[in-house]
């Protein structure tokens, strides 16, 4: 596929990043840690990191998001942050009484060479005899990769530090990747319909979308329990969603020998638990792949409910196809999410002319080629490590009919008068971000309806006639 226009950051006109299409690594790790039951995340660095990340996540999830900070000062930067670390852990235990304190590093603590793992073992040694929460650490310097990499690093480190190989069981581990709380609920429902026990991690379906409370809770209900996380080492199989995972952190590092792994691959190497990787189940083909995988692992058949959903989805594809054929899309966001969306768009006659991500895995194009096969559009511009201003410049050339991505592209949508269908993270300008469905037949149905209706609405708005039937 030599003809495809693969654009790397260095080939862009600007050295700087102008309106980034990514967030930093500790945001991703904190998101993953929010999926642990009774856990308080701690960011080892300056105060601003936790506050900014909290504010950014609160604007999306509209939930209380407590993330503590070890509050580096000038002194801790010069002499090290061990004292701040110890005080932080003490204070968190006192305030929150958590089962887990999940620590992320920052660019600052990494640059000054903080050894957080050593701090953890020293803290444990000093407090020997006391019942302590689990202390988990993910190395998440923001100069290596993006929020996506921080997320996967946190998932990997959590599993690495907690998983145990005991008596083997009939459980399937599921590592879903960055999806909405509603998506996670859809996945849990699948396992219910299969009557199959599972451990999903991270599970922030409740912690980041809690019901209204009668009493204020210091830590939101929900999340994957420590006990379950321990059991992941004895499961019969692991499923992970994604093709790219945290490969950006690897490519942006100088020492590429740093072994980056996913949680599922770790469990496979350590405890020989079979790992099945499949893409984000968006669209019919990628959803089929997931259900086929489940059928193969469980020896069961796709439950009737999903066959009906699939049938209705196909029916709607047919109903809507005339509104969609030949339309051009611009898709941006996290790499694994956009792979799923582009695959889905290729099923309904929408041509993706431009896809862009802040990630820099260097494997986005090959992943797209593998997933799409002969559906791969070799004319498509693939922007890796791309920012919104560069995307804007390409939009002039390729004139898409619709944009699909986070709310951060809204200014381009306004500037070019192109409808935007909001998916992924963040969605800061609409309500219900935590309930956006992206996956399985049901989520695809929602996406399909949104995209088709956005195009219809545009057509209706642009027309002077004011058709009552579209």
């Amino acid at each position: 596929m030599e003809t495809s226009k693969y654009i790397k950051k260095k080939e862009q006109a600007f050295t700087s990043t102008r309106n980034a299409c990514k967030q930093c690594s500790p945001l991703g790790s904190s998101l993953a840690f929010k999926g642990i039951k009774n856990c308080i995340p701690l960011i080892h660095g300056s105060q601003g990191c936790s506050t900014y990340i909290r504010r950014y996540m609160i604007s999306h999830f509209r939930e209380p998001i407590d993330i503590a900070s070890s509050n580096f000062s000038e002194n801790s930067t010069v002499f090290g942050g061990a004292q701040n670390f110890n005080i932080s852990v003490d204070n968190l235990i006192k305030q929150y009484n958590p089962e887990v304190i999940a620590i992320s590093s920052t660019c600052l603590s990494e640059t000054i060479g903080e050894d957080v793992k050593k701090m953890i073992s020293e803290y444990k040694a000093v407090n020997k005899g006391k019942i302590l929460p689990e202390l988990i650490f993910a190395s998440t310097p923001s100069y290596a990769g993006s929020h996506v990499d921080g997320y996967h690093e946190a998932v990997f480190e959590t599993i690495k530090s907690l998983s145990e190989n005991k008596e083997s069981n009939d459980i399937i581990n599921l590592f879903p990747g960055i999806l909405s709380p509603e998506d996670l609920r859809l996945l849990k429902e699948v396992f219910l319909y299969y009557n199959q026990s599972y451990i999903m991690f991270p599970d922030y379906s409740d912690t980041l979308d809690n019901p209204s409370w009668d009493e204020y809770k210091k830590i939101s209900d929900g999340g994957t329990s420590v006990e379950a996380l321990k059991r992941t080492g004895s499961s019969k199989a692991s499923i992970e969603f994604g093709y790219v995972f945290n490969s950006s952190a690897q490519t942006s590092r100088i020492k590429t020998q740093v072994a980056y792994q996913t949680a599922a691959k770790y469990l496979n190497e350590k405890f020989e638990i079979p790992t099945y990787s499949t893409g984000f189940p968006i669209g019919i083909k990628e959803s089929d792949a997931f259900f086929n995988l489940l059928n193969a692992i469980t020896g069961k058949e796709t439950p009737e409910k999903y066959l009906l959903e699939r049938g209705r989805l196909v029916d709607s594809y047919i109903d809507g196809h005339k509104y969609l054929s030949g339309k051009k899309a611009f898709v941006y966001g996290d790499e694994d999410l956009i792979i799923g969306i582009i695959s889905f768009l290729s099923e309904i006659g929408i041509k993706t002319v431009l896809c862009a991500t802040g990630g820099e895995s260097k494997i986005l194009q090959s992943a797209l080629e593998n997933v799409l096969g002969d559906r791969f559009n070799s004319e498509m511009i693939i922007g890796s490590g791309m920012d919104f201003e560069s995307m804007g410049a390409h939009m002039e050339t390729y004139q898409p009919d619709i944009m699909i991505g986070s709310s951060k592209g809204v200014y381009l949508s306004k500037r070019h008068d192109i409808p935007l269908v909001r998916v992924g993270f963040p969605i800061h300008d609409r309500i219900g971000s935590q309930r956006v469905k992206h996956i399985l037949y049901e989520g695809t149905q929602e996406l399909f309806d949104k995209i088709t209706n956005a195009l219809l609405e545009k057509r209706q708005d642009d027309s002077e006639i004011g058709y009552q039937y579209m």
Partner: protein, 443 residues
């Protein structure tokens, strides 16, 4: 108060119960979930509204990503401030230095966007990796012929308030470098209004009607040229004193420009803000015009306010805002619509303002410095507040506790300053408190 962790006790007083002075102006305690941000944030929010300047953030991506279009600071012209520029440092630069990347990035951006000046913000790791940002700025300034100012705002250096000071020092470098704006006898600068929801425009209108010229608004709807000429004004009017008092003091020292502290929130305070200016210029004409404006505006809104007061009488508010000066105004404004402030807290209030806050609050009011969600939620519960007034980070606390919320921070889209703003404020409070949704929540 069982919820307080060690070291936090002094930061909370209940008026009438506690006798100790409120502890403030301290770094946040390690392991707390402080609602404060960092030094960088302080500098960034102050300089951000300067709309024709380039704002380049030197560091890894996070700091730029989280501050992209972060404030609703409106501009009547250029909108360069709404773009987020970052050097997006990677491991390579962390090891080998980021000066070269900064230099190239800066030159390209200046060539392309032709800004009136450039600000380069240092983030946490910049000092640690040894980049000489000042030298790069100087070099580019010389080559490109525009002012390039380093903002040494490494996050760990202190609190958000230290960031304000750093930003003020940077602005002070611009002040006095221009002499190309004609200045009238009654001329002022407005310091510390950030033109959220176009509030500055409302206030400017009052002053213009009085016959007062605004030389520079620092920094709401800010322009480099105006700031360069700011030394030519006769008076500095300082709102949001927490962020801008340093600049006011500095301009007094350097240019002999006196300043007055004002607030534009609430009828009392906004009226004072107009009268004080007239009084300063010792002009009967100004005073008369101020009086006309005040009477006209108050007459216009009085019936609506009376109606809201009727409906809101006796309701209790918890407020948690940036600085104590704003908290003082809010306590007064709430009182005017019949409401009682039961919790008044701020991120970065100073001793002087806290003293006044304590004086004007009712007995039993909890006053708190640098609080966190655990404390705030327990205060709300303890006091039975009906509404929380704060920013985005406080919103979920209010909603999860089943009480109303009013955004009095960066993200507000409705003007809350001035006379019309007072009505908007009352309306917003009434609407959230009286919404039918609360019937489904147990409180």
């Amino acid at each position: 108060m069982g919820t307080l962790i060690t070291g936090r006790v002094g930061h909370v007083v209940t008026k009438g119960l506690d006798t100790h002075d409120l502890v403030c102006d301290k770094p946040s305690i390690a392991g707390s979930v402080s609602q404060r941000a960092c030094v960088f944030c302080g500098s960034r929010v102050v300089l951000y509204p300067i709309a024709d300047a380039l704002h380049l953030i030197h560091g890894p991506i996070g700091c730029a990503s989280y501050t992209w279009d972060i404030r609703g600071s409106l501009s009547s012209g250029p909108e360069l401030h709404r773009l987020s520029f970052s050097t997006d440092l990677k491991e390579k630069q962390v090891i080998f230095g980021g000066e070269e990347k900064l230099y190239t990035a800066l030159c390209e951006l200046i060539d392309h966007y032709k800004p009136a000046a450039a600000f380069v913000y240092s983030t946490c790791i910049v000092g640690v990796i040894g980049d000489d940002v000042q030298a790069v700025c100087k070099k580019v300034e010389k080559e490109k012929g525009i002012t390039v100012l380093p903002v040494m705002s490494e996050g760990f250096q202190g609190t958000k308030k230290d960031g304000y000071k750093i930003a003020c020092d940077v602005i002070a470098k611009l002040v006095g470098t221009g002499d190309d704006l004609p200045v009238q006898p009654f001329s002022v600068n407005i310091l510390g209004d950030y033109n959220l929801a176009g509030e500055l425009w409302m206030l400017s209108e009052y002053y213009k009607k009085m016959g007062v010229q605004i030389v520079a608004s620092i920094t709401g709807d800010g322009r480099v040229k105006e700031i360069r000429n700011a030394h030519k004004a006769s008076l500095n009017i300082v709102q949001c004193s927490g962020s801008m008092i340093y600049l006011a003091k500095k301009m007094k020292e350097e240019y002999g420009i006196p300043f007055i502290k004002v607030s534009y929130f609430g009828i009392e305070d906004v009226s004072d803000a107009l009268y004080e200016v007239a009084k300063f210029f010792k002009s009967e004409q100004l005073e008369e015009k101020a009086r006309q404006i005040v009477i006209k505006e108050i007459n216009q809104i009085a019936p609506q306010l009376a109606e809201y007061k009727n409906k809101l009488q006796g309701k209790k508010a918890a407020l948690y805002v940036g600085g104590a000066f704003k908290a003082i105004s809010l306590v007064k404004a709430l009182r005017m619509i019949g409401m009682k402030t039961v919790v008044a807290g701020t991120q970065t209030g100073n001793a002087e303002d806290y003293k006044i806050l304590r004086e004007i609050c009712d007995e039993g009011t909890i006053i708190v410095d640098d609080s966190n969600p655990n404390e705030l939620s327990s205060f709300v519960k303890q006091t039975g507040a009906d509404i929380f007034i704060g920013g985005v980070k406080e919103r979920p606390i209010a909603f999860k506790m089943g009480i109303g919320f009013c955004d009095h921070n960066h993200e507000r889209k409705i003007a809350l300053a001035g006379y019309a703003g007072m009505v908007n404020f009352a309306k917003e409070i009434y609407e959230t408190i009286s919404s039918p949704v609360w019937q489904f929540v147990k409180r």
